[in-house]
Amino acid sequence: MAKRFDLRRQTGFSEIAWFCLFALYAPILMLVVFSFNDNRSVVKWTEFSLRWYYEAFDNDGIRAATAISLKLAFVSAFFGTIFATMAALATTRTKPYKGMYLAYAVINQPLMIPEIVTAIASLSLFALIKQLTGVTGIGYLMLAHTVFTIPFAYMPIRARLEDMTLTLEQAAADLYAPPTKVFWKVTFPLLIPGIVAGAMLAFVVSLDDVIITLMVAGPGETTLPIFILGAIRRGITPEINAVSTILLVASIVFVAIFFLVQKKRTK
C-alpha cells in the first residue's frame, strides 16, 4: 500500500508549477478566444465570428503599421544576424586573446542596459544627428533595431559554434583546401542551423519591440506594437484582440522554428 518514497517530492510544489503554467497562459488564451467573438465585449461570449479580423484587415492604419513592422524586422534581423555571425566566428573556438572579453561585453551591452535608457539615449543621439544633418527617415529606427538584434542572434550562433569541433575543418585544411573554401564548404553549412535560429530570434525581438521604437520612431513610422499601444490607450476593443492575436501567432511561429532548429543540434 505504501507508495515508494520519492526523494525529490516537496509538498505543494507540483500545484504551484501547474498554477504558474495556468497563470502564464490563461490571459493569453482569453485574449485569443475573444478575438473570435461576434460582439463588442471582450468578456461575454456570444458567437464565433471572424468579424474583428476582417475589420483589422480593412483598417489602413493596421495595414501600414504591419508593412513598416515587417520591413523593419527584415532589415534589422538581416544585418543583425550577419554581424552576429561574424562576431561569433571571431569569439569562439579560439584561445582567449587580448580584447576578447571586451568584445564579448560590447556585443552583449544592449542586453545589460534597461531598455528605457537605451531608448532615450538613442533618441538624444538621433535628434542631434537630425539637427546637424537634416536627414530624417526610417533609417534611424533600422539602426536602433539592428543594435539590439545583434546579441539575440549572437547567442544561438555562438552556442552552435561551440558545439562544433574543429576536426572537420582541420581535415579539409589537410586536404589543401584554402581557408575561404574551408569556411564556405565546411564551417558555413554546419553553422546554418545556428544562423537560422539566431535570425528567428532577431526577427522576433525586432517585431515585438515597443519602448525603443516608441522613442525613436518619427512621424509616419508607426509599427504594429506602437499602433496597438495607441489603440489600448483609446479604449479596449475586440479589434485589438484580433491584431494582437496575429502578432502573437507570428512570434510563436518564429520561436517554434527557433526551437526546432535548436533541437536538431542535440541529436
Binding site: Q10, F83, A87, P110, P114, I116, V210
Partner: protein, 317 residues
C-alpha cells in the same frame, strides 16, 4: 614581434616559426575584420548614445524639448531637492524620491513573488523525466518571446473591473461590487511578476537540474524532514540560480515602462515612465537623462552583485 624580412630562414625550425607567425597574424586580422562591423555599430549606436545622455544630463532644457548648451547641475539637484520659489530654501523633493523608491519596492516585491512561484516550478520541472522537462521549459519560455505589450494587455483585460475575475466572483455571489485592482500598485505588482516569471524559472532550473540526489538521500537517511531537506540542502545548493533569477527579474522590473503604463494607468508612475515623460510632454531632456543615469547606476550595482555571487550559476539564454 614581426621578424625582419632580410633574415632568410635557414633551418626547418626557423621556417616553421616563421610560418606560425604569419598564420597567427592572419588569424588576428581575420578576427578583427569579423568583429569590426558588429562592434562599430553597437559602439556608435549603442554606447555613444549613452555618453550623449551623460552630457545632456549636465545641460539646461530647451523650451521645445531638446537641450540648451549651458552647463547646469539642475537635473541632478531637481531629482533630490526642491528649491522654494519664494525664499530659495532647499527641501527634499519627495515626489521623485517616492517614485524612485516605489520602483525599487515594487520591483523587489515582484522579484520575491516570482521567486516564491518560480522556485517550486523550477524544482518541479527539474524532477520530471528528461523528455517532459524540455516540453515544460518550452512552455515556460514561450511567453517570454511573445510580445510583452500584448501580454500586459491580456492581463489588463482580466483584472479590470469588468474583467473575468470580477465577473466570476460576482456571479458566484462572493462579492457584489467589483474589486478595483487596475490602476493600483497591486496591478503593477501582479503585472511585473507575470511579465518576468520566465526569467526566474530558467536560471533556477539550470542550477536545480544539476542537484546531486545523493545529498538529499543522505539527509533523509539522517532523519531530516522534507522541510529540513528543502531549507538545508536544496536551497543552499540552488543559491547561484536564486541570485541569477532575482537579478534577472529585478533589473527589467526596475526599468519597466509598459507594465506601469498600462496597469498603473499613468497614475502609479515608475522610474521608467518618469524618464519617458521627460522626453515627451514634460520636455525636460536633461532631467530625463539624469533620471536614466541614476536608474543605470542602480542596475550596475545589481549586476555587480550578480557577478560577485551568482555568475557561477547558469547564464541565461
Amino acid at each position: 614581434m614581426v621578424a625582419p624580412a632580410d633574415i632568410s630562414p635557414t633551418s626547418d625550425s626557423q621556417k616553421l616559426a616563421r610560418a606560425r607567425q604569419i598564420d597567427a597574424r592572419r588569424k588576428r586580422n581575420t578576427r578583427l575584420y569579423l568583429l569590426l562591423p558588429g562592434l562599430v555599430i553597437i559602439g556608435l549606436f549603442g554606447l555613444m548614445p549613452l555618453s550623449i545622455t551623460l552630457v545632456y544630463s549636465f545641460l539646461k532644457p530647451g523650451s521645445y524639448g531638446g537641450v540648451e548648451w549651458v552647463f547646469s547641475l539642475d537635473a541632478y539637484v531637481q531629482f533630490f531637492v526642491e528649491r522654494d520659489i519664494f525664499d530659495d530654501t532647499l527641501s527634499p523633493n519627495w515626489a521623485y524620491i517616492s517614485i524612485f523608491s516605489r520602483s525599487i519596492g515594487l520591483s523587489f516585491g515582484a522579484t520575491l513573488g516570482a521567486l516564491i512561484l518560480g522556485f517550486p516550478t523550477a524544482y518541479y520541472i527539474a524532477s520530471k523525466p528528461a523528455h517532459q522537462r524540455n516540453f515544460w521549459l518550452f512552455l515556460i519560455t514561450l511567453p517570454f518571446w511573445t510580445n510583452l505589450l500584448i501580454r500586459t494587455y491580456a492581463m489588463l483585460i482580466i483584472i479590470r473591473d469588468q474583467g473575468v475575475i470580477n465577473l466570476a466572483l460576482m456571479n458566484a455571489g462572493i462579492i457584489d461590487k467589483p474589486i478595483s485592482i487596475l490602476y493600483t500598485d497591486t496591478a503593477v505588482f501582479i503585472g511585473l511578476i507575470y511579465s518576468y516569471l520566465p526569467f526566474m524559472v530558467l536560471p533556477l532550473y539550470a542550477s536545480l537540474e544539476k542537484l546531486d540526489l545523493r545529498l538529499i538521500e543522505a539527509a533523509y537517511d539522517l532523519y531530516a524532514s522534507r522541510f529540513k531537506v528543502l531549507t538545508k540542502i536544496i536551497l543552499p545548493l540552488a543559491k547561484p540560480g536564486i541570485v541569477a533569477g532575482c537579478i534577472l527579474v529585478f533589473i527589467p522590473g526596475l526599468g519597466a515602462y509598459i507594465t506601469p503604463e498600462l496597469l498603473g494607468g499613468g497614475k502609479k508612475l515608475m522610474i521608467g515612465n518618469l524618464i519617458a515623460i521627460q522626453f515627451g510632454s514634460s520636455r525636460n531632456w536633461p532631467f530625463g537623462s539624469a533620471a536614466a543615469l541614476i536608474l543605470m547606476a542602480v542596475v550596475m550595482l545589481a549586476l555587480l552583485l550578480y557577478v560577485r555571487h551568482g555568475a557561477k550559476g547558469a547564464r541565461h539564454g
